[in-house]
Subunit: 325 residues, 2 copies
């Protein structure tokens, strides 16, 4: 990992996944879809030489239904001590951590097509792996995310999520932690609770809600049809989700993804959890949630330069369209 | 423009460019390449009903060589007073500003294929439009950028750059301003000068250099083959570039883009200028530069969630490969 000398942000240089320089020309966009004539890596993890499972769920008949194993091309690698290095004015450190894939059995059924209880099993795995890794040495944040579709960066077609347990708190999470803290100091109220309450009361950006979760297109959506899934009550820590909440969360996630699937014709998308760091500190004013970003636009020069995203539909219109699916 | 209640970041909702919701399904990625049977908008701006020129450069024979006109689908629109609106806890304001396109004449010759003097003419136009707009009401930052290739968001094939004069200082620039300021306070030295001096002395990440500019793969590159073009001397304000510096800048930019073009086989890329805001304040510790980001990877769930980019080649190897083109 290398640190930007100006902003303090980190990047990861994962050359284990790399081509030689001259191969980049052929791999302008690095997609490793399986050869259709070959075994799918994730249908047949043992036969295709994937890493050993760290978690496996089985059905009553003994067949596996979900398994978790280390990513074969990890962006973060297991290792004991983190070494810090200097090069003149610059800093780098070993990208130590854990990088796992969470694989559901059925090659053809993505989350949009699962039922809510099957999605609850995925949430079980997220929680179980989170709890196992959160107290490991050098793990300060755990990022759980899903890439669907090759334009959204999925290198394997078979439905899967990923988990990265990393040694630093990312700039985006830090920015949300700081924002939540300063909103709390000014208003004595959680900023995410304020948002959830407003959306639940005014309905116009709601996509779906049940007793404990709300799914809505955020007021300042960065992409057309962006949806956030959020607990209605104040909950800083994803890993403390109860079994009952997990079913409600799975329902809200599955329905949101299904509505995006139907509305936009199975678009590529990313979703990811934002939750409190596991660095041993308390984050009483943060509020975990999941963000779904359909790949409805390309973030080009303006967005990359400024960090100001240009979206082309009002979130109210996007939410209405999704509600009606 | 709408403000993120948590982070304070802004987004733009530009519905003038929009489809109706049901049209998003067909336009998963919004590419508006010209119909090959029709006139190119930028070869024939008058005939295709583009906006009126705000700047035109002509050759000795009277033909135009470069022209600048307002973007027909602006993300920021001209307008007098900025109105601020509240919706409960949320803030929004009118996205007032200027959004222009800078078009070179030749449909087939992108910057990689121009000569340095032709690129200097583009830099002339950047500077001239910058100076004209920097003192306009409500213009606090001017973003100049280029999208090349449809995967990098270019909606028109004909080579062009864009300029957006906007009412806010973007989060990315603010982060660089803050980083430069705090580095200066700690070290009594500009952080960008520190970087330029180190790279110039150690050579291993250099792509090209002349008397007044250096082009290099940054130590914490966010994408494979990222290149920054930077004045070697301390220069906070792009718009104060001299004619002599402009030729040296154009040479460094053209050669960098040409090396990327040859090394990666004409990949899509974005480049953009980062310079001091034009909000009336002084920024003595900032240092303008241009960043070129080839589209060598997809920023997927992990990168979108964290803001930590994963790159797959060491910048030293990328620079060596580019140097050898």
């Amino acid at each position: 990992m290398r640190q930007d000398l100006v902003t303090g942000d980190w990047v990861v240089i994962a050359t284990g996944r790399s081509k030689r320089p001259e191969e980049f020309a052929a791999f302008k966009r690095e997609i490793v879809q399986e050869d259709p004539g070959k075994l799918c890596f994730f249908c047949f993890p043992e036969e295709t030489g994937q890493e050993k499972d760290v978690l496996i769920y089985k059905k009553d008949n003994g067949d596996w239904s979900l398994r978790v194993f280390p990513n074969k091309y990890p962006a973060f690698k297991r290792g004991g001590k983190i070494k810090h290095h200097e090069e003149g004015p610059f800093f780098k450190m070993d990208g130590v951590g854990y990088h796992e894939v969470i694989v559901t059995r059925d090659h053809m059924r993505q989350i949009a097509l699962l039922d809510a209880l099957e999605v609850a099993e995925i949430a079980d795995a997220y929680q179980e792996r989170y709890i196992d890794l959160m107290n490991k040495k050098n793990v300060n944040y755990i990022e759980i995310f899903c890439n669907h579709g090759k334009e959204a960066g999925a290198s394997i077609v078979h439905p899967h999520s990923q988990l990265a347990a990393i040694p630093v708190i990312s700039p985006h999470i830090q920015s949300e932690l700081d924002g939540a803290e300063s909103y709390y100091r000014a208003n004595r109220h959680c900023v995410y609770c304020t948002i959830a309450d407003w959306e639940s009361e005014h309905k116009k950006r709601i996509v779906f809600e049940n007793d404990s979760f709300i799914a809505f297109c955020p007021f300042s959506s960065r992409a057309a049809f962006e949806v956030w899934v959020m607990p209605k009550k104040h909950k800083p820590y994803f890993e403390r989700i109860t079994d009952e909440e997990k079913v409600a969360f799975a329902e809200a996630l599955q329905i949101s993804v299904n509505k995006i699937y139907k509305a936009l014709g199975d678009p590529p998308y990313n979703f990811y959890l934002h939750t409190s760091p596991c660095d041993g500190k308390d984050y009483p004013h943060y509020h975990w949630h999941l963000e779904i970003l359909p790949h409805t636009a390309i973030w080009a020069g303006f967005e990359l330069s400024t960090g100001i995203e240009v979206s082309t539909i009002e979130p109210e219109a996007a939410a209405e369209f999704l509600r009606n699916q």
